[in-house]
Amino acid sequence: MLEKIKKLVLRHRIQLTAATGALTAAAFVARLGFANEQVAAWLMLAASIAGGLPILVQAIESLRVRVVSIDLLVSIAMLGAIAIQEYEESAVVAFLFLFGAWLEQRTLAKTRSAIKGLTEMAPQTAYRLSADGGLEEVDVDEVDVGDVLEVRTGGKVPVDGVVIGGSGSANEASITGEPLPTAKSEGSQIFAGTILENGTIRLRAQKVGEDTTFGRIIELVEEAQDSKSEAERFIDRFSRYYTPAVLVIAAIVWLATRSVELAVTILVLGCPGALVIGVPVSNVAGIGNGARHGILFKGSDVVTRFSRVDTILFDKTGTLTYGSPQVARAIPYGGDQAEAEALLASVEAESDHPLARAIARRYADGEKYEVTSSEAIRGEGIAAVAGGHRVLVGNARLLERHGVAIDERARADLAELEAEGNSIVLLAVDGRLALAIGIRDRIRDGVAEDLAALRKLGVRNLVLLSGDNQGTVDLVARQLGLTEAHGGLLPEDKAEYVRARQARGETVAFVGDGINDSPSLALADVGIAMGGGTDVAIEASDVVLTGSDFHRIPHALGLARATRRNMVQNIAIALTTVAFLLVSLVASTWMNMAVGMFVHEGSILVVILNAMRLLRYGRRPTPIQKNRRHLTGVNSRRSSPRDSVHSNKANRKEVTK
């Protein structure tokens, strides 16, 4: 019976809140409109009971699990007020407390909306192939590893798996940050949370639920939002003893002064409100904003540490650069250049060598010749017959061994290409040198502006660490305006360097690709991984840039700073409120428990609203960004093949002039 009442009361909290409000309002009408004190008192008592029930039930429930909660403070305060027949105060307190809780729930939901937007990208149902060959719609939780599912145009992919039939293209922005759709056909990997933009595919589930890449990203953000910073852990411990302490103080005051009114006022004023919620709510909003911009902070500690960073160390390959070789220059030596390029591409199309792939990618659009014979020569290149020509593709040794002359001018070019850090591929057609190709990794578009933005944010040291030779490293450092550059480093040397900077008292962030740099990522105060959600990157780092988007780093740093400022503001608001309440209790005549409850609930809403400002951080593009869009187009910073071809063409024109 008691259980039933309890459940009924808890389930109708909102209705009881409304009833409390209505009864209190009616009581004021009775008193002010009709001067009927008797009716007003009865209505106030009824309101106190309607509002007091759910609070009392919650207080008892938490006592049963040995927690002294705010509900208990408020319940005792209300019972005290009713005992001395202050029905008005108990009614107003009950209403404000319940209404405040409801409002807080609503606004808190807003601060959490960022992560909610992410989770809602996960589909709820899947179409599973059943034993009789038909399709059935099932809840995504019921899908097991090995099940065969179908996804149609516009559908969300429910699990990680491998395509076993059909074809289409998927938008994988939720996982990789890449806005261009990726083609999927038999044998392709496909990921949960991505969207099939066209086509129909069948896939076999390999990872389901929280095990999928998408599920892990969500779980990571959820746990990060709940991870406690040092300040929060302190506040937690504090509030665990604080609430019972308020109870004891109120009891002492009551025994000493015999004033129930004063004792119950202390109970209400003592409710830990804004102080407890102020810090976590800033973190939730900040981490949520990051998640929506492809930045995963792995906890509120990370946000705090990141906000203090004054030294950022960068890995070169794959971080400041694209990480894959691209054709940077092509120097022609007479003859038909278009034909030479076509011959080169035709021969290289057959090879899996990284340099060959870069060339094949670069000249993919050109004409193709039939390759009639092709012989790979280890350490030198390829000798082939294509389109009726004898073709050599490889290094200088290959050409010399086949009696191809490399003249003075060509030798000077080769030395220059080498000095620029290129790998060189030569092409000879029918015994004559036709083309010299310089291939190197390219600096990501927009990196220089991003580094300038970081300097503007007050980062003093921007240091490049690389395994490459010092010459190449210095060149990159000069181009980008870095403060220091160190080449020839092994992964353990980089870790040692991180330690050395920390020993100087600097707060160090390390930006790397998360694979060979894990020691440095783990050692740095903040490890930032540029990884499309790879396991290693997620494990070793503190911040993950899901889209491998370098451009996110200034946003991340600015956001971390803003979040920290927001936290400090909230603590200040909370402490000011407490001080104000205490001073008014001693120094004013108008302070009572109803006013106290009002100020208390008000301060909680103020800190939540303050934190919500963080959700909007970075929404307006800064002047720098606007400028950049204008200059190079929206997609300029993506490493899409189209873009690299584009800029290489520009390079080539310069050369051929």
């Binding site: 049963r64 959490r112 939780d141 639920g209 509030s239």
Partner: protein, 76 residues
Amino acid sequence: MSKKATLQLETLACPTCMQKIEGAIKGVPGVVGESVKVLFNASKAKAEFDPTQTSAQQIADAVQDIGYDVLKVSER
């Protein structure tokens, strides 16, 4: 072999709710005490338990009993 229960709860608003829910779940026989985690912002509770002694549904009932709605229960 222990199993893991994940409960999606109604939106949690007060930090003391976490202590209450944590206490309630730990009170269910068969739940591994230190595995209980209440995610305030995600409004989720996670716990490992011994399937011979209890079930995800019983854990959900314990949370429901102290006045918090459980929207979804999953067990792995």
